[in-house]
Amino acid sequence: WSGVFGLSLSHCMRIELSHPGEWLQVGYMYHSIMTMHAFMMIFFFVMPTSIGGLGNWFIPLMIKIKDLSMPRLNNLSVWLALGSLFLMCMAFLSSGGLGCGWTMYPPLSNSEFMDGLPIDLAVFSLHMAGMSSIAGSINFLVTIFNMRMGALFFMSLNPMLIWTLFGTSILLVTSVPVLAAGLTLLLLDRHFSTSFYYPEGGGDPILWQHLFWFFGHPEVYILILPAFGVISHILCRSSAKLHVFGKIGMSWASMGIAWMGFLVWGHHMFVAGLDIDTRAYFTAATLMIAVPTGVKVFNWLATIFGGVYSLKHSHPSTFWAIGFVLLFTIGGLTGVILANAALSTLLHDSYYVVAHFHYVLSMGAVFAIFGGFWFWFPFWTGMVPRKDLVLTHFMLTFIGVNFTFFPMHW
């Protein structure tokens, strides 16, 4: 147990450098901070905590086995992730900084505009983080397939967190290699005079966009799927129910969201010059993801129905879960608006997009992480935290994120 415990704790403790500095500086500093903020939050906060931390701790527990299938691979995953974090920090601190945004579009990220260390370090860092994720995901997939109780496809057996981590692992194993390919092409362009992204040599910057977003869209579902599982667990405990309402539907919805996430990457590229029928397809496909997501929200509402809630007696993690359902729904609805190619002429690259993804991430994934943390805190440590302090944590965060991100819709 202690091996698993140590591994998962080290994952959970990677909540570092989560927010950019407060002082404004002109020049590349702002862009560098913004890029680092995105990389840190996505790759070193949400992913290690929800996938590495929760996965390592709970997959063995919930399938009632002793440890994951491949503990040494797990260990490799940890060290790769640590190394990746180190490289990313080096990238931030080296001359010039990472001024290209977390999406690293060439030609800006190519050698003629951002020469030298920072981008190369970031590319290697992402390669390592990718390998770490793939290793961990293979581990999860093998474990879940081999050591399940009963048949995998007898859906009513498995807890929701297992299902969502299963979906997350599939997404990781399939989409990270595409990112690795794009990154390798970028590295070749920068140092070996290739022209994958240079039009003068027959390449196309749009190639990077396709490769990156083919990874990038499943990536954001990777960030949110474990959160879905956590919320299901918290809510069914808060309502004193055996499992979440309609759990077969929930499992199908999670898998549906995971699968459909592969089909919609073009909605990040609506103004880049895609063909109009292509834009129409991506609009339709993106809108369709709203259906299973809505099913999940309604199922959660039905889970809440019939439970006894009160300010005084409810466990604090309930607040996080209810906050999640409401705020993630708002974020999802702004996502429905952004899905339309016809509106991207107004909304592309604007603060509306920033508002959308912060609602689903800072108020989706992060609420689930905090809620899960307080939910399982007595389980992990044997200590019970002071309820009023935990509630204060919730109230301050809730007020803070709403005041920060709601005005961005204008």
Partner: protein, 246 residues
């Protein structure tokens, strides 16, 4: 979609932007409807325990699940129909194009090339650069590159882009170095300027006026400082403008 300090949409100069605005309002309507349902259901769900007591056995109800799958699917179908209509209508003019403009993005300014066809069926036109006004001391009394009283910082330019009102045109957007994005929300146009590629957007401004916009793709240090100003003038003024520099 609002300008700095505003809370409502910008004025819409083209049918593209007014139709996009209508589409946004329609979807927002549906969204608010859905959100109201969610908030009311949440309230009911939370208070139900106190009124009805525990309901621990209620764990599935297939008919209800079917309803809340089918109804959102219908709403999504409705949204996508409206969306397709707006998308395809905004994509092309019905009338033949009267004027062309090539907009080139550089780090960190825009170049506008104007082209018209004269009676001899030849293209004529000229080009000029458009820089954002600098926050500097003017070097002389008529220094045009520096902010003067009444100008808006990071929004005004030295030479705006001029288009005629009521005449259909086509904007061809290209880039000299990195990816930029020419975006003027009041005209309902955002087109990425990708090197090695010529992206196009039809434009038909219905009223005269001035529209502001910004670069909308991170392009380096001064990405925030390459604004766009579009002056929509009467066709007569446009002809005089075009003849000045041939």
């Amino acid at each position: 979609m609002s300008q700095w300090g505003g809370t409502y949409y910008q004025m819409t100069f083209t049918s593209a932007s007014s139709m996009s605005k209508l589409l946004y309002e329609s979807i927002m309507n549906i969204n608010c409807f859905v959100m109201t349902i969610v908030v009311c259901s949440m309230t009911m769900a939370i208070w139900s325990g106190m009124l009805v007591g525990h309901c621990r056995k209620w764990l599935k109800y297939e008919l209800l699940e079917a309803i809340w799958t089918a109804v959102p699917a219908l709403l999504i179908w409705w949204i996508s129909s409206m969306s397709f209509f707006v998308l395809y209508t905004n994509a092309e003019h019905k009338e033949p194009t009267y004027f062309y403009s090539v907009i080139t993005g550089h780090q960190w300014y825009w170049t506008y090339q104007y082209a018209l066809v004269n009676e001899k069926k030849e293209f004529f036109g000229f080009e000029h650069d458009s820089y954002g006004l600098l926050l500097d001391e003017p070097s002389s009394s008529d220094d045009e590159t520096v902010l003067s009283k009444g100008d808006m910082y990071l929004m005004d330019v030295d030479l705006p882009f001029v288009i005629p009102q009521g005449m259909p045109g086509e904007l061809l957007v290209a880039s000299d170095d990195v990816i930029h994005s020419w975006s003027v929300p009041a005209l309902g146009i955002t087109v990425d300027a990708v090197p090695g590629r010529l992206n196009r957007s039809p434009i038909l401004a219905k009223t005269v006026g001035v529209a502001y916009g910004h670069c909308r793709e991170l392009c380096g240090v001064n990405h925030h400082a390459m604004p766009i100003v579009v002056e929509i003038v009467t066709p007569k003024t446009y002809m005089k403008f075009m003849e000045q520099d041939s």
